[in-house]
Amino acid sequence: MAKVVVVTSGKGGVGKTTSTAALGAALAQAGQKAVVVDFDVGLRNLDLVMGAERRVVFDLINVIQGVAKLPQALIRDKHIDKLWLLPASQTRDKDSLTEQGVATVIRELRTRFDWVICDSPAGIERGATLAMRFADAAIIVTNPEVSSVRDSDRIIGLLDSKTEKAEKGEQIEKHILVTRYDAPRAARGEMLTIEDVLGILSTSLLGIIPESEEILRASNLGSPITVSNPSSAPARAYVAAARRLKGENVPMAISNDKRRLIERLFGRRAA
């Protein structure tokens, strides 16, 4: 039975696309057949983060408008066997997305994959509401920072009212993924802690992705972090989050890159 997951946040720049790529890759690396779908029509970037930007021929809008069949638009990942990408259109505008069209594509994806991970655009408009519309579960990407937490709260309100599940009176599964977390700063009272974020949003935690230089390196290379540097702290955190998404019970640990931890210890003493 396929599961449709939307990766959303309201606020831009918090790590939706990075997280979509990393979670999709982690699921596929664990043997699940996964597709990552870019809903950011006009501002597509998932193809770039996945390193598939030169292989895009057809896109989501082409499929919705019947210009191309779904298999023609699906791009198979170069590194991971069971991972596929459905890119957004870069030239059309977001009005080309229709609810009926999205419903049809999601229904077909459900028959072909174990996991359909939808990368939502920022904001709360059409693209974002359609990305979440048919989801079974939502991952709300949140930075430990006031504007991101506020926007996450708003998105949670939309998930509970505007999704097909909510309208049928069912509960959409919701998970918080905290990204760019800096545990030492949180410990010093300089950053909202995980407990602060979860307490305010009253939603369960899927994972904690530590702030890391490796994330930029991965997007520079066009390769999900779990592929480009699987032993790095953020990659391990994404793998753990993907396992929790599958329903496994994985203890929550805030991993850090060892080198940086040592740097920080000495750095603080010297300051």
Binding site: V146, R150, R154, A186, R188, G189, E190, L192, D196, I200
Partner: protein, 96 residues
Amino acid sequence: MSMFGLFKRRGSAPVARERLQILLAHERTARGKPDLLATLREEILALVARHVSVEDDNVQIKMDCGDTVSTLEIDIEIPNSKGFRALSCNAVSNRA
């Protein structure tokens, strides 16, 4: 930063947490529900307008949203020539 300052300084995160808690408590009550004060304002004005003709210039409306109590103050001037005394209507409501 000196070691002394490091221990003395209170982090900014607790401030962030408190600000968010207050803000979101407000935004959540407003979410999805029609604005109670706005509804009251419209209906009160419509009611008054049924009995006397009221010029826009003669209506003063003040709304204030507080933590536990919000106030809606409507002052309507009604010319004496019509046989009414000027009337003032104050409505205080608990915010839902």
